[in-house]
């Protein structure tokens, strides 16, 4: 009984710390409609700042706390709102997720850059004092946490219910534009919300750090606990968030306390850290159907789809290029090329899901891991074995998507984040998968009796798979399915009133995207023949999304380039360990800048030939009058390129921007090739 009480008390104190972190998340989300995935990462960062002040520089704890919570954190919050997240609330959910994921990665990058990995600890407050209440040990840290959480609750209540600015905050939830018309300064309100939210993230991190440890990634994952707690109040109700946080704190505490009492517990050593995730899925399943969003998202200009002929020419060209590239290449470089191709296929899975469908997945690497695990279980893998891996991963994807079937895209993305963490901690560490980072072994693939024994032939085979997947995706984009996907991205309300059951459609698209990721994972393991769970860390999925955001989510070119740079990032970090963190920051800043245009850098690449024509040709034509004629002869400078088959039979160029002319994927190079 005493034991039970002890765990209950610990649970309440943990819950109190979760409540502080979660209320910050609710405050920023409900005021600005931006779900801050970086909430935990921000808390992590300021926990390290606090450590720096109180431990490294030796300031008193109270002063460090005041400096962090009173000055550094709120100031950062205001700057973030001003320069990073402003206006994201009305943007498509995919855009706001890319930007906040970028913020998360940037925070980790900055933190690892400043504080090199080493053993650190934040001691509890007054570590020497212990109180004994009816045989239960209570520490000052517990009491301080509980008192602070009550103060936060009271403070937020007074702020929201009793002050003018609080009323404005609640009003800006409903209609920020209208608030402005009535003289409320919506920007000030948002800035305040981010200032307070950032401080609360910092406080949550600092209070939990003695328990969780000074770990960049574990502290970042506090966002999952905060999110799980906040879900009970549908991300908007503070009292329900506190209830959720307490329930979660208790659940975590009981799992830690009683897990070893159950038979078979030795297989579930990864369970305690994923309690928030399981809690989260349980709540997601119970939530009611979300209403369809009315209010149009403006149509997006996306990279036009190349014609079948052109796709074919390019596909064969790419395979030819890889064949030339890999001949006589050293094995270590070959492995990098193969990895880039596998990552390129992973990127293609995001093109389908995010680029066309507008949904975000933060677990593509976890799906790749599932594909790899399934593939490794197949004896003498052939195409059939590969198909098993693909379909199996698709089924797992469907299982992730079904609980959030009735909810909006934001919840789908957050469910994938939770899923990625679940796979990391629970499944990939279990005996039948990787077992604590033991390498997982698999054989090379054999296709129709031919076994790809050599690394070179395997890499070429992977390039063929990349091209095949790209063909499938372009075919989808050009057909009915692609049109429906884009229609769904543009207006869910209209799709619903036209009779589309978006719930199952979304599950199908998500499962399809997961299958592609599964294929990438299976190919990766078939190439390396041995792989560890570290290759599929959830954090990689976040990097993948950012890479895709930078290079472009709407084109095959963007996916290919993204794959190459995704492979190159850890290589570059390995070669330059001094700036490893800065490279994360660079990627994140790129994604923040480019993330608002899902076409990414690839789009500017497509525009380049047109820009060159526009600015260079007239000058040259002036100098060499013959040039102008030649240019016309070869189709340059014409708005309608005959070679360019614009999408389906009679309708125009799907998704193209008529105003900008045919920004055809590789249109210029194609014109050259046609000669």
């Amino acid at each position: 009984m005493n034991e039970f009480l002890s765990y209950t008390v610990i649970g309440i104190f943990t819950g109190a710390a979760y409540a502080i972190a979660a209320s910050g998340l609710v405050l920023t989300y409900s005021t600005t409609r931006v779900f801050n995935i970086a909430h935990g990462a921000i808390g992590m960062f300021f926990t390290f700042v606090y450590w720096d002040f109180s431990q490294r520089q030796g300031l008193p704890a109270w002063l460090s706390l005041v400096l962090v919570l009173g000055i550094c954190a709120p100031l950062t919050g205001v700057l973030l709102q001003r320069f990073v997240t402003r206006g994201l609330g009305t943007a498509p959910v995919g855009v706001s997720l890319v930007v906040t994921v970028a913020l998360l990665v940037a925070m980790i990058g900055i933190a690892t850059q400043i504080w090199k990995p080493e053993a650190r600890a934040i001691p509890e407050f007054f570590p020497d004092k212990r109180f004994d209440v009816w045989g239960i040990v209570i520490t000052p840290q517990h009491i301080i946490t509980l008192v602070l959480s009550l103060l936060v609750a009271g403070g937020l209540y007074v702020l929201l219910a009793r002050t003018r600015v609080g009323t404005a905050m609640r009003a800006s939830v409903d209609n920020a534009e209208l608030l402005g018309l009535y003289g409320g300064r919506a920007e000030v309100v948002s800035a305040l919300a981010w200032a307070v939210g950032t401080s609360l993230a910092a406080l949550g991190g600092i209070l939990l750090a003695p328990q969780i440890g000074m770990d960049f990634y574990l502290l970042t994952l506090i966002v999952i606990s905060a999110y799980a707690a906040a879900m009970l109040g549908k991300l908007t109700s503070l009292p329900m968030t506190y209830v959720g946080a307490m329930a979660l704190g208790l659940a975590s505490s009981y799992v830690v306390g009683y897990l070893d009492k159950f038979p078979g517990a030795e297989n579930l050593t990864g369970l305690p850290p994923v309690v928030p995730t399981i809690f989260l899925f349980a709540i997601l399943v119970l939530l009611p159907q979300a209403p369809l969003r009315i209010g149009q998202v403006k149509g997006l200009v996306s990279a036009p789809v190349p014609s079948p002929t052109k796709t074919g020419v390019w596909g064969i060209g790419l395979i030819g290029f890889v064949v030339l590239l890999v001949s006589g290449m050293a094995d270590s470089t070959l492995l990098n090329v193969g990895t880039a191709i596998a990552y390129g296929i992973l990127m293609l899975s995001l093109v389908l899901l995010t680029g066309y469908g507008g949904f975000v997945s933060l677990a593509q690497f976890a799906f790749a891991g599932v594909g790899a695990v399934i593939y490794s279980q197949v004896e003498q893998p052939n195409l059939f074995g590969l198909a098993v891996a693909i379909i199996g991963t698709g089924l797992v994807g469907a299982i992730v998507a079904i609980p959030v079937l009735r909810l909006t895209g934001l919840y789908l993305a957050l469910a994938t984040l939770a899923f990625g963490q679940l796979m990391d901690k629970l499944i990939f560490t279990s005996a039948w998968a990787f077992e604590f980072n033991n390498p997982l072994k698999a054989e090379r693939l054999s296709v129709l009796g031919y076994k790809f024994e050599s690394l070179t032939s395997t890499v070429i085979m992977m390039a063929v798979f990349f091209v095949l997947v790209a063909f499938v995706i372009i075919a989808i984009r050009r057909g009915r399915l692609g049109r429906i996907l884009i229609a769904m991205r543009d207006s869910q309300a209209a799709c619903g009133t036209l009779g589309l059951d978006m719930r199952w459609f979304r599950v199908g698209v998500f499962a399809g995207s997961a299958s592609i990721a599964g294929l990438a994972g299976a190919l990766l393991i078939s190439m390396r023949m041995s792989i560890t769970a570290n290759d599929f860390l959830y954090f990689n999925s976040l990097l993948l999304l950012l890479m895709a955001g930078v290079w472009g989510l709407t084109s095959i070119t963007g996916a290919a380039l993204g794959g190459v740079f995704m492979m190159y990032l850890p290589v570059a970090q390995g070669e330059n360990p001094d700036i490893a963190g800065l490279l994360f920051v660079l990627l994140a800043v790129g994604a923040i800048i480019l993330g608002r245009n899902p076409n990414g850098l690839a789009y500017y690449l497509f525009q380049l030939p047109r820009w060159i024509q526009g600015s260079l040709f007239p000058a040259l034509a002036e100098k060499y009058p013959g040039m102008a004629l030649r240019a016309q002869e070869y189709g340059f400078g014409r708005r309608d390129d005959d070679d360019y088959d614009d999408g389906d039979h009679n309708d125009g160029d799907p998704g193209g921007d008529p105003g900008a002319g045919p920004l055809a994927e590789e249109v210029d190079t194609h014109a050259v090739a046609a000669r």
Partner: protein
């Protein structure tokens, strides 16, 4: 026989009652107008009928079936189509593709085996926007986009068509043509319920009119009856002393600042 029956529907947003015990019926094959000042709850009523808004209480009966709890897409399958006041065209697609997508969705797997190109062209001709077929839907004028939404809704072959301010953005001659189109659709057996602020159009084409104010139906009847109804005049104009209002104005003033009800 009524095709649609809105039965004592209440919709509350927090403390605001947008629809307050609304009751009305729409007869099979009729053109029915739903009019009222801004903020009277017309669009919310449409959202309740199409399933985009769950009512706080009350029932919606369509074609003798209670559809109050039915999801949006299943109502569409049963024959309810609509257009939106705030446009919901698929902006990234062309006008023709918008309509084609509607066929894609409506036909499901069966659509794999038939070409809809002619049907798309016919619908665009019918509503008179064939010249915009290859324009992106987010680049066309508002009036054209409303006609596009009508064409898109027609692709699903609805029994009941809900039109939310379909003529706003159309000029006078276009509105006239639009009125003829509505009558043609009604003659083909479709039932039309429309929210409309152009009183000439409403008075000319509607068989029945329901007047909403503050979320409740305050009057029903033929155009002539509604026009003569003092309660309606009060709701619209804030006075009720002299004769039929709005005879010489194409559009009644619709700002409800003077509403006394």
């Amino acid at each position: 026989m009524p095709l649609l029956h809105v039965d004592d529907v209440v919709v509350q947003f927090g403390g605001v009652t947008a629809v307050n015990h609304a009751n009305f019926e729409v007869e099979q094959g009729s053109i029915t107008g739903l009019i009222g000042p801004n903020g009277a709850g017309k669009t919310t009523t449409f959202n309740v009928v199409t399933g985009l808004q769950t009512p706080t209480s009350g029932r919606v009966v369509f074609d003798d079936k209670d559809i109050t709890r039915m999801p949006v897409h299943r109502r569409s399958r049963r024959g309810i189509g609509r257009t939106f006041q705030r446009l919901e065209a698929f902006g990234s697609l062309t006008v023709a593709e918008n309509v084609r997508t509607a066929f894609d969705i409506h036909d499901g797997f069966a659509g794999l085996f038939r070409s809809v190109q002619n049907d798309v062209d016919d619908l665009l001709d019918l509503v008179g926007i064939a010249n915009h077929a290859d324009d992106r839907a987010d680049s066309i004028p508002t009036g054209t986009a409303r006609l596009l939404e009508l064409a898109r809704a027609l692709a699903c072959d609805p029994k009941l068509l809900l039109l939310d301010e379909p003529s706003s953005g159309l000029d006078e001659s276009e509105t006239e043509a639009f009125g003829e189109l509505l009558q043609q659709l009604a003659n083909e057996g479709r039932t039309i319920l429309m929210v409309e602020h152009d009183m000439d159009l409403v008075m000319n084409v509607c068989d029945t009119i329901h007047v909403l104010d503050f979320g409740s139906v305050i009057a029903d009847g033929t155009p002539a009856q509604v026009r003569a109804n003092p309660v309606v005049q009060k709701a619209y104009l804030g006075y009720s002393d002299d004769g039929p209002a709005g005879d010489d104005t194409a559009v009644l003033p619709l700002v409800n600042e003077e509403v006394v009800l």
